[in-house]
């Protein structure tokens, strides 16, 4: 077979079928583009499968808040899709001391400035909302419109929509980015603009954009409907999420629509095996029991780990790869990739199409790393 016969041409070749890659495929195909998506493994089988699936606005960084808010609005059109298991349980941030409680009004103001509605919850309301919380907490902040989803279900849904519009899935591995597209492991060549959305594996294709894997553990329980009603987080969560310690844990518990309770979260650099670390699980559960002592008596069914793709500054790389006009990137979302996948897809593809972006794209420009 001659070389020419083995080349297929597309407008856009998306590498990686996690939630970010499939969101890009969905949006690009919706815009009428001819799309290929290349994925050697399961759909949504990487960080997407390991994630909690909490749709949340994080307000610690203005760029992060802008992207999460933009994305949360886009999520609203998916609420009725069964496969996604969308559940609007709301987020309840819990203050474990007066100092944390006193800082809530600032957070409320920051969120309100972007358009996110949240409310202060006093001590009495806190226990009405979540009776099983430890008795010595001070109150909290509720964001009622936030939700939880099943991320691999979303990746499948987005991919199926894209395929229904003609996008083609190549179950294959990209071994190299070429001048005109990508080369696959079976020597096939795909021609077109390349968009790399491979999360933790980004440096394999784009070594100039550093990514570190930040390992996390999750524990899921048997079915206990009604024990927890909201996604519960400690207000100190951001210290764990944004700190640079080699390892940290934070209280982060989620009610699944099945009645199961999903328990996080740990953050750990320096471990590159997916093995479950029982000492880390113990630390995480100790933190959980401090806030929800009731969980001690519940049965855990499974523990798993995953790796969050972390960029140099914690913000995703969304845009054109410096020096490679034909190569674009959407990767490095750390722990917010489920929430921000939809906004990220639009931001990248709108830039590529030369359109105005809905939010300022500069904070995520990969050029910040090369510069």
């Amino acid at each position: 077979m001659g070389y020419r016969q083995r080349v297929k041409s597309y407008d856009l070749i998306i590498v990686g079928a996690g939630i970010v890659g499939t969101a890009c495929a969905d949006y690009a195909s919706q815009e009428g583009l001819r799309v290929a998506i290349v994925e050697p493994g399961p759909i949504g089988g990487g960080a997407t499968a390991a994630a909690m699936g909490h749709l949340v606005a994080m307000d610690d960084d203005p760029a992060e808040l802008a992207l999460s808010h933009y994305s949360l609005n886009l999520w609203e059109s998916f609420t009725g899709v069964e496969q996604i298991e969308y559940s609007r349980c709301g987020t309840l941030w819990v203050a474990s001391n007066e100092a944390e409680f006193a800082r809530i009004p600032e957070k409320l103001a920051r969120l309100a400035a972007t358009g996110v509605q949240a409310e202060l919850i006093d001590r009495e309301q806190l226990y009405r909302l979540e009776p099983h919380l430890a008795p010595d907490l001070c109150g909290g902040m509720r964001v009622s419109r936030e939700a939880v989803v099943y991320p691999p279900g979303m990746a499948h849904h987005l991919l199926n929509r894209a395929r229904a519009r003609g996008a083609e899935l190549h179950t294959n591995r990209v071994i190299a980015i070429t001048h005109h597209g990508v080369q696959l492991a079976d020597q096939t060549h795909l021609a077109g603009t390349v968009l790399v959305a491979t999360g933790c594996a980004l440096p394999e294709l784009l070594p100039q954009l550093p990514i570190r894997g930040r390992k996390g553990h999750l524990v899921i329980t048997d079915r206990y409907p009604g024990v927890v009603h909201h996604q519960l987080l400690e207000l100190g969560y951001a210290d764990s999420a944004h700190g640079h310690d080699d390892s940290s844990v934070a209280f982060n518990v989620q009610p699944r629509p099945t009645g199961q309770i999903l328990i996080g979260s740990s953050r750990e650099y320096g471990s590159d095996t997916p093995d479950v670390s029982m000492p880390m699980v113990r630390r995480m559960l100790e933190r959980t029991f401090r806030f929800l002592p009731r969980l001690r008596q519940l049965d855990a069914l499974r523990i798993w780990t995953g790796f969050r793709p972390v960029s140099v500054d914690g913000l995703p790389y969304l845009g054109n790869v410096p020096g490679q006009s034909n190569v674009w990137v959407a990767a490095g979302h750390e722990g917010l990739g489920i929430t921000t996948s939809l906004g990220s897809a639009r931001l990248v593809i709108d830039q590529w199409l030369g359109r105005a972006t809905a939010i300022d794209a500069r904070p995520y420009d990969p050029a910040r790393v090369a510069a």
Partner: protein, 428 residues
Amino acid sequence: MTEHYDVVIVGAGPAGLAAAEAALAHGARVAWLDAQATAGGQVWRRDVEHGWPPRAQRVIEYVTQHANATWMPQTQVVTAEASELLLQNESRAWRISYDALVLATGARELLLPFPGWTLPGVTGAGGLQALAKQGWPLAGRRVVIAGSGPLLLAVAATAKRHGAHVLGIYEQASAATVHNFAQKLWRWPGKALQAVSLRARLAGIPYRCGSIVTRALGDSTLQLIEVDGPRGVERFECDQLAVGYGLVPNVELAHALGCAMKYEGAHPCIEVDAMQCTSVPHIYAAGEVCGIGGHDCAWLEGRIAGLAATNASIGASLLRKQHHARTFAAALREYFALDPYIHDLSEPDTLICRCEDVPLRALEDYDDARNAKLATRCGMGACQGRVCGTALAELGRFPRSGLRPPLFPTRLATLGELHSSCSQGSIP
């Protein structure tokens, strides 16, 4: 604080008991544990009316009463970390360590889906035997035993002993195959004797070969079954259906410990050398977990493992007997190999994963267990695919996906409160 023992034995069936007896006889301090409340395992399960079989009773008394033995009933190993096991029972969690570990975790039933298999009144063959021995009322109930292999005869005998009206035994292997197998039994006189005595006890109960239960029907509980055999398709009423297509080794703990596996058909079992040593030093395995072989194999291998674990010498005749017992197991496997027809009984709406209610239809697009699990929840439930993953492997769909810790549903307190300063994560 971690409790330390010379030898720890997981499983108190024939293999575990033989290992315990051998290790105790050589002066070892032994801990033995089992998820059940009483020793004996599946095959020597204590009958509430009739007690243990005499052979089991003797060894259980010896091991239970021995000063160097610690018996931990209703105890499960939930995780395995470097030479330590995390255990839990109903009220506490603790850790034990060992110089040598014997895995005698036995086997579970191979449950294969067919239309109606999830109806109340339908169980595994071994499941019915266990229920009967635990005193579940069978008197006067119309019972059908189906599936394959000599286990069906033992189950029928137990059911009959407990007053059931056994309507028939339906063996999937053809009459010619069963006849040829019976012709070979002289090589294992003990087995021949057992078969003769079982047949005598089952006098009057029809034994139909080449017959497969293809469907169970009923509104909310079993009422009717459909059998396909040499006489064509028949339907008749019954109250209880027990289907046993064989057993599958419980290798989950061995897997967590990193022991190398081999495959017997579609299912993994532990690879051991002649001394029953696994690929991991100081970890031994015996009985069904090394490949389905029946309680004679289990007993002999347990004894070898117990001796090896205490560095005692192992006689050549013991090894010879074990080899002979394994040849019987191989013959059983050969003669009672499953008819591929059994693989195709399920219909699109037949449930494959009972924990998560996943029908066969939902799995059609998947050729990989993890992909199927992520998309359909198949295997995400409390049993972690022990039933559906095993069935899908047997049916030739795809191998079971990796098991995640813990090995069994485990109290969060057990997983969360076991710092070295606090070894007992008891529930407040």
